[in-house]
């Protein structure tokens, strides 16, 4: 991110959704087939979701997305790059066909590799970090056993005419033929031996790889047209040149490595000594070979083990394997070594043959020498060193050497231009596998030396790619290096529950193995396979199995989508990155959070309560699904806590949401649920919060003042024991069914990193550092912050900050307002007055959502029969782009003047179809929707005929209604853009400047004769201690000589009329009146501290209130005891609300006193300290400095008596359990705050006022700044008492909301409004009274008298007035009587 305010360029990284938003209709068919189950973070892990998911049912955008990271470690470890996670998931689902399709994309031999593969993938499997790796190889085999690989349809490119000659039919040769065939290139395989298969045939004995499996999978290759010629060895009568002459365009050498390596010991060429590979070849080709009684096998690899196990089967009595290193270094498979030991072979470790002893030409024994392991050699294994003099003899009659293989190059040596490596393998380009001879390629063991089968297949795949490029004349190695992938975040392992061990592969009992070559590993059953496959932890989340692609009818899924990095040119930035909820797992030893399922965070509890949550809103315990009888809430978990976590602040919302959750829980629970909230103080300081708190007490919520330190658990019932000390010192233990941890908020980790990266200063708690005079600005000009990232706050305050930030950003960019906004242009509207209704009906299938249940074609035919219907059709997805265009043409061609769409809900899709009507030149209100999905097929899915019948009825009702639909025009109302601000305090001035700086002429009126308001008079410092007197004076000067602001002092509002954008207000300036026209009004008449007659206030000079104590500090000098009393007149009958500022102000003053008089004793008498947010630091500082806090209750209010001139305070201290007497030198009261007298304003603008006199906003939470009458906004203390910086925030928010209106020339009003017929109206005024939006006013018309008149701009179209009118004189646009009656009649009758 660089640039400066007004012109930033930000680089944004967008992860792909893999689902096209414009096509996806969120029909959820893909989710049904997706095999991958993941933790559902939205449900806090209480339920699972699929890899393809919608975050929540009503998510916006309402389409699906796939969670996917880079390829899983198993796929990267596999030489052939198989999509391991993909086919393992398919095996888990029992979809073996699909599993094979995935495997055979990169491998022709699933069954073979399912048995003999070296499964490097299992070593890379991240399940090892949990318990054992997933048995991937055995799962591949299960897939091949369950479904015949030959029946898999493989995609291949169109046939080409080039031909390739392949030498050698081992895995490398055959797979090259397979991959070439799929590229449309024919090939012929020349095999020297009588049977195809190479090492698969002759190298691996049948007990590991049965013949039928080999035959079956070779057929997979031949079925693709690959021709195999056996008994045609490469050599003199089969040379490269001959092949080229025969028309082959390329040759692929894959002769493998069949030659054994000499032992290099005397006596090696005795008759009884032979090579392991030759031995296995004889067994494979001839079924048997001569075998000695006592056989010694030299070597430790797979070949040695195969020979040993074959020897046992052929009847050798004693077989011993001689290996020069120890067991750990043996290269053979672990499970093979174990199997051979089971079959009675003994392995002699750490010894090597020195000489083969003979007895008259026959092998009689072998002399070996003991070895010990020295330093590790180049192969990474410790090299064996013979121990001198440790020779020993083994009496054997046959010796088989299996110490390795190498390619038999005899047939290749005479080819000019073919290079060989020093290990005797063919030299090729490592990427393209091309030799130096044009058109000649090589692969498999012949090229790589003896390696794995899968390795050979991989070289085959690469060679095929090179050959195709060679034929196309394209550079063979371009773009084929595999880029290493670093720092990938795979799915975290801790999300996986351990403890499900690897399923043991069933084997033939050892006894039954002798004498036969039956397959030893019997393979998984389906159940075993599926349970083993479910151990896969889906490292890259989505397994790329492709099922969702097939399931998606509109074809919206696109796995090839790449991440996008975009540069955005913006004028300003607003950081609203929100919060991470505190994770109590860190404090697990105290709260047993992860340990006991009945301890949950408040967010999890919210999900349990939610109707769309895991339990559909049914309140049950997680351990046993029983309905709880007793629930406890523990407050301040992760907040106000500096020893266990460093969140010293109060998160401001936990008390309120705990009370709400308790109240709602009581509603959900049938029986009388006992809810207890364990707290230090209950902080309900916001507007209407205190009443909410009082009402919760009436509903029986218990508040226990105690901080529970640890929770114990009764393990068999799962209940929880809370031990706590009450105020009077008694220790109690209570048992609860559930405990909810009211977790606090922390700034989102990702946001903190981002902020550091773009250079935003953060404070000690990692919230954005901001000044009180500019609460939404950050340390970097042009970048603003709002919401919880600025500091812990509730939703109303967040919304105020969001609007304030919008205003601040708007301020910077006002010169470029409207520059980038595009207006959509529609064709001219057709006039249909007088036309007979010509109705077009479009019934939607919505994939299977409707079509799968209701008989859509039957509905369409039925509808064709109804009167006035001139066109009816059905579509797969009516809301998709292409169908919309089709509908526009259909409307034009059939000259329709009514449209009915039978599909989903008008709430979500009506605007979309109305746009379509506009595109077709038809008035958007000549449209109606029949909801046959959400309210029919989705909810009657098991009653198909009745759903169809109901759909017919619903469509018929829509058609009946549509006959009476009339075109309606959007009402446009002109807007004049000056603004009126009432009240010259901090809020008023900020608002006025906000308008003026954006170029809107503003009138600021002030009742008194000077600006500054109550804050100026009283407030010296903010709670953070910054002096604001200078700031206030600065604002006053700015306002008074700003050319866009006219300041009218000593001015009051007399009356006002008009509506949003068109207000006319009459003012009394001094004693002359003046009317002004303006588009918006901001009321900021502020509030003031009330005086009280309690506690000798006004009678004793030593008793002061709020900040007046500062004067007393100078006046009196005998200051050694000061008492602060909070909640004087607040939270009682006179003011049943919390004035929010007093706690902070009292502590601020107390600290000031302590500073000036360090040894003074200071008391604060309070009813719960409410220093919310970061103000908690002040409270902690006060306690540290020895200020004594005493809590009193309304019943034990302190009393003051005057004792020789000084106030003596008597208060009951609950902790000490008795009254104490304080001779105070000074007493300071925090009295309630009331709104300034505002009747004139509220009656002029018809603003409702709550019981406490504060003006009511449109919605206390979501529209805290707007009033119910549009165009009027409130800010500052007139809304509710609030500290200095929150007033500024709310003022800026009011400006932003008002600018929404002022910045336009005219305002469009929805035409769904009421129309009064003034001939029928008798002026009874009933409608005016019933209208809650004051959208009807009385108008006197001469000759007729008083009549009701609509203010359409304010009308919400609810129609209550139409019902109340005794004269039935009110006509509701779009919902009039004709339309509703028609629908009523149509619902029942057939016509």
């Amino acid at each position: 991110m660089e640039g400066d305010p007004g012109h930033f360029s930000a680089r944004v990284y967008q992860t792909p959704r893999y689902v096209d938003i414009s096509k996806c209709t969120s029909c959820a068919d893909c989710e049904a087939v997706c095999p991958v189950e993941l933790q559902n973070d939205y449900e806090e892990g209480l339920t699972t979701r699929k890899a393809i998911f919608k975050k929540y049912t009503q998510a916006i955008p309402g389409t699906y997305a796939i969670q996917k990271t880079s390829p899983a470690p198993c796929k990267l470890a596999c030489p052939a790059g198989l999509n391991v996670q993909g086919y393992v998931q398919m095996v888990k689902m029992g979809n073996y066909k699909r599993a094979l399709e995935i495997i055979m994309e990169d491998l022709p031999f699933p069954g073979i590799l399912g048995r003999v593969c070296t499964h490097g993938c299992e070593d890379a499997c991240r399940r090892c970090e949990v318990d054992q790796p997933v048995a991937i190889r055995d799962l591949k085999r299960l897939a091949a056993d369950q479904y015949d690989p030959r029946e898999i349809q493989l995609s291949s490119k169109p046939k080409r005419d080039e031909k390739v000659a392949i030498i050698g039919s081992g895995p490398a040769g055959l797979s090259t033929g397979y991959f070439l065939a799929r590229k449309g290139i024919g090939s012929t395989v020349f095999e020297a031996l009588p049977e195809p298969g190479g090492m698969l045939r002759v190298g691996i004995p049948e007990h590991r790889l049965p013949r039928e499996v080999l035959e079956k999978e070779i057929e997979v290759v031949t079925n693709l047209g690959v021709e195999i010629k056996t008994n045609t060895p490469f050599g003199p009568n089969l040379t490269i040149d001959q092949l080229f002459q025969q028309g082959f365009k390329a040759v692929y050498l894959a002769i493998g490595a069949h030659k054994g390596i000499e032992l290099g010991v005397p006596g090696e060429n005795l008759k009884g000594v032979r090579q392991g590979v030759a031995f296995l070849k004889d067994v494979a080709l001839k079924g048997t070979t001569e075998i000695g009684k006592k056989v010694a096998i030299i070597g430790g690899g797979n070949v040695a083990i195969d020979v040993a196990r074959s020897a046992i089967r052929l009847g050798a009595e004693e077989v011993s394997v001689i290996y020069r290193r120890s067991r750990d270094e043996m290269p053979a498979f672990k499970e093979e070594i174990q199997a051979t030991l089971d079959e009675g072979v003994n392995i002699v470790y750490l010894s090597a043959p020195q000489e083969i002893l003979s007895d008259d030409g026959e092998v009689a024994g072998v002399r070996c020498i003991r070895m010990e392991l020295g330093k590790t050699d180049s192969s990474g294994r410790r090299s064996p060193i013979p121990i001198p003099g440790s020779e020993f003899d083994l009496e054997v009659d046959q010796v088989i050497s299996a110490i390795g293989q190498q390619p038999d190059l005899s047939s290749l040596t005479d080819i000019t231009g073919l290079e060989f490596s020093r290990w005797g393998t063919i030299e090729v380009n490592s990427v393209s596998y091309a030799t130096d001879i044009e058109g000649v390629f090589a692969g498999g063991d012949a090229q790589a030396g003896p390696w794995t089968v899968i390795g050979a297949v991989a070289t085959g795949k690469e060679a095929a790619e090179s050959i195709e490029r060679y034929f196309d004349g394209v550079d063979m190695s371009a773009g084929r290096e595999i880029a290493p992938i670093e720092d990938v975040e795979y799915r975290p392992v801790d999300e996986v529950e351990p403890g499900v061990d690897r399923v043991k592969m069933p084997e033939l009992p050892a006894a039954q193995r002798a004498g036969n070559f039956n397959q030893v590993e019997l393979g998984y059953t389906e159940e075993e396979g599926q349970s083993e496959a479910s151990r896969c932890i889906n490292c890259s989340y989505c397994s790329d199995c492709g099922l969702c692609v097939e399931a998606c009818l509109p074809g919206a899924v696109n796995h090839m989508e790449l991440p996008v990095e975009r540069d955005l040119d913006v004028g300003a930035v607003i950081l609203t990155s929100g919060t991470d909820v505190f994770d109590p797992a860190k404090l697990e030893q105290f709260y047993l959070y992860k340990h006991n399922p009945n301890v949950m965070t408040s967010i999890e509890f919210e999900r349990i309560l939610s109707a769309t949550g895991p339990t559909n809103g049914h309140l049950v315990r997680r351990s046993d699904d029983k309905e709880p009888k007793k629930i406890a809430w523990l407050q301040c978990v992760g907040s106000r806590d500096v020893n266990q976590c460093d969140n010293g602040y109060c998160s401001s919302v936990c008390c309120m949401y705990a009370i709400k959750e308790a109240v709602i829980a009581k509603e959900h629970a049938p029986s009388d649920l006992d809810c207890a909230i364990f707290n230090m103080d209950i902080r309900t300081f916001g507007k209407d919060y205190e009443r909410y708190y009082e009402r919760s007490k009436e509903l029986g919520v218990r508040f226990v003042q105690a901080r529970v330190h640890t929770i114990e658990e009764d393990s068999n019932t799962g209940n929880l024991l809370l031990r706590y000390a009450t105020v009077d010192g008694e220790v109690l233990t209570e048992e609860y069914d559930m405990v909810v941890l009211s977790v606090g908020m922390e700034p989102a980790r990702s946001a903190v990193e981002m902020a550091k990266e773009i250079g935003i200063e953060l404070n000690q708690y990692n919230f954005v550092q901001s000044e009180e005079v500019a609460p939404v600005a950050s340390s970097k000009p042009g970048i603003y912050v709002a919401g919880v990232f600025q500091g812990p706050k509730d939703i109303p305050h967040s919304i105020m900050e969001a609007s304030a930030a919008a205003c601040a950003a708007g301020l910077d960019l006002s010169s470029a307002r409207g520059s980038l906004v595009k207006e959509r242009v529609f064709p001219e509207e057709k006039d249909i007055t007088g036309e007979e209704p010509r109705i077009g009906v479009f019934v939607c299938n919505c994939g299977t959502n409707i079509g799968g249940i209701a008989n859509v074609p039957e509905i369409v035919d039925y509808v064709k029969g109804l009167p006035n219907v001139v066109h009816a059709e059905h579509n797969m997805f009516s809301c998709s782009q292409d169908t919309q265009e089709k509908m526009v043409n259909v409307i034009k061609e059939n000259n329709l003047n009514r449209v009915v769409v039978a599909a989903c809900s008008p709430i979500t899709h009506e605007p979309l179809f109305q746009e379509t009507l506009k595109d077709a030149g038809l008035n958007p209100f000549l449209f109606d929707m029949a909801n046959i999905r959400n309210q029919c097929t989705w909810v009657h899915s098991d009653e198909k005929e009745k759903a169809t019948e109901k759909s017919k009825d619903l469509v018929r009702m829509s058609i009946a209604r549509s006959r009476y639909l009339e075109p309606l025009e959007y009402l446009t109302v002109g807007v004049n853009n000056p603004a009126l601000v009432i009240g010259g305090g901090i809020s008023g001035m900020t608002a006025a400047l906000g308008f003026a700086d954006q170029g809107f002429p503003t009138t600021l009126i002030e009742k008194t004769d000077e600006l500054g308001g109550s804050a100026a008079r009283q407030l010296k410092k903010t709670w953070k201690g910054s002096d604001i007197t200078a700031y206030i004076q600065g604002q006053i000067n700015k306002v008074e000589n700003h050319q866009n602001i006219t300041v009218l002092k000593n001015t009051e509002v007399v009356d006002s009329s008009g509506f949003v954008g068109n207000f006319e207000t009459e003012l009394k300036v001094g004693d002359l009146s003046q009317t002004i026209k303006h588009g918006a009004t901001v009321v900021a008449t502020g509030g003031r501290a009330t005086d009280t007659d309690e506690y000798l206030y006004g009678q004793n000079p030593r008793v002061t209130q709020w900040h007046d104590i500062e004067e007393n500090l100078d006046k009196f000098d005998d200051i050694n005891t000061v008492v602060f009393i909070n909640c004087v007149g607040s939270r009682d009958e006179s003011h049943p609300y919390c004035s929010k500022l007093c706690c902070t102000a009292s502590i601020q003053e107390a600290l000031q006193v302590k500073e000036r008089f360090p040894d003074a004793r200071i008391f604060v008498l309070h009813r719960g300290i409410r220093t919310y947010g970061e103000r908690e630091d002040l409270y902690r500082e006060a306690r540290e400095k020895g200020i004594i806090f005493i809590k009193y209750t309304p019943e034990t209010k302190p009393t003051i008596t005057e004792v020789n001139g000084k106030p003596e305070v008597l208060v009951f201290d609950a902790i000490l359990g008795r009254y104490i007497q304080i001779e105070a030198d000074l007493v300071n009261l925090a009295t309630a705050i009331e709104p300034e007298e505002n009747n004139a304003v509220t009656s002029a603008f018809k603003l409702p006022v709550n019981e406490d006199g504060f003006i009511m906003e449109a919605h206390v939470k979501l529209r805290p700044v707007d009033c119910s009458t549009d165009g009027v906004y409130i800010c500052g203390m007139v809304h509710y008492p609030k500290p200095f910086e929150e007033s500024i925030t709310q003022a800026q928010a009011a400006v932003s909301r008002a600018v929404n209106v002022l910045c336009r020339q005219q305002v469009n009003v929805e035409p769904i409004v009421s129309t009064i017929d003034q001939d029928l109206c008798i002026g009874c005024g009933l409608c005016i009274k019933t209208c809650s939006f004051s959208a009807i006013e009385a108008e006197t018309i001469e000759g007729l008298g008083v009549r009701a008149k609509n203010i359409s701009a304010l009308c919400k179209g609810c129609g209550v007035c139409a019902v109340a009118c005794p004269q039935q004189a009110i006509y509701m646009n779009h919902f009039n009587n004709d339309q509703i009656n028609a629908a009523i009649k149509a619902g029942k009758s057939i016509a």
């Binding site: 939610s610 109707a611 769309t612 559909n616 809103g617 909810v939 009339e966 025009e969 009402l971 129309t1315 017929d1317 003034q1318 001939d1319 029928l1320 009874c1324 009933l1326 009274k1329 019933t1330 359409s1352 019902v1363 109340a1364 009118c1365 005794p1366 004269q1367 039935q1368 006509y1371 009039n1376 009587n1377 004709d1378 009656n1381 009523i1384 009649k1385 009758s1389």
Partner: protein
């Protein structure tokens, strides 16, 4: 009010159900539908022909200015204070309401009966099942309101006729068979087009 009228007409009050559902309470809505369907099934099919006359009376009563005024004002009258700060006591309010509903219903019933043909008090009592005394009392009120008048004599029985065209008959004259309810007067449409 509708419930009271249904009681008077002898139609099960439960045939009209009200419920409160918020936008998030999907499950609750589904349960309410089950509940209402259950109630309706128990009530059995509603045979309109049996109640045609009395339903017409209800409709006519609901159309009267008096009942619409009362339904509009009911909330304000019973909850809010009047100018002098007094609140009407609820029982009195209920009494007034019941009495006016009943009287309007009876008058509507009579007018409906007279709609078919002129009838005598005794005949009307038989058809409607109302006591003779009530019929004559209401008929008297109708005469004062000049909605009904003496029609003719037959022997000693006097017959009366309605002077008011009921919305029902007006509908019959206007168009097809069914009963349109609240007819939008045409000139509203004209007036609307002009105003904006």
């Amino acid at each position: 009010m509708v419930a009271r009228l249904l009681d008077l007409a002898g139609i099960e009050r439960n045939r009209v159900q009200l419920r409160r559902v918020s936008a998030a309470e999907g499950a609750l809505f589904a349960n309410y539908v089950k509940e209402v369907s259950q109630i309706t099934t128990e009530l059995g099919p509603f045979d309109t022909s049996k109640y045609r006359l009395r339903l017409a009376a209800i409709k006519r009563a609901l159309g009267t200015r008096r009942l619409r005024w009362l339904s509009g004002m009911e909330h304000r009258l019973s909850i809010e204070e009047n100018v002098y700060g007094e609140k009407t006591n609820p029982e009195l309010m209920q009494e007034v309401l019941d009495e006016s509903i009943q009287s309007e219903y009876h008058k509507a019933l009579i007018l409906e009966m007279l709609e078919l043909q002129p009838l005598s008090v005794r005949e009307m009592a038989e058809i409607s099942g109302l006591p003779v005394y009530t019929v004559s009392l209401r008929l008297n009120e109708l005469e004062n309101e000049r909605k009904a008048e003496f029609h003719s004599h037959e022997g000693t029985t006097a017959r009366f006729a309605s002077l008011v065209a009921s919305p029902m008959s007006e509908a019959k004259a206007a168009d097809d068979s069914d009963y349109p309810l609240l007819k939008d007067s045409d000139h509203i449409k004209v007036q609307k087009a002009v105003s904006h």
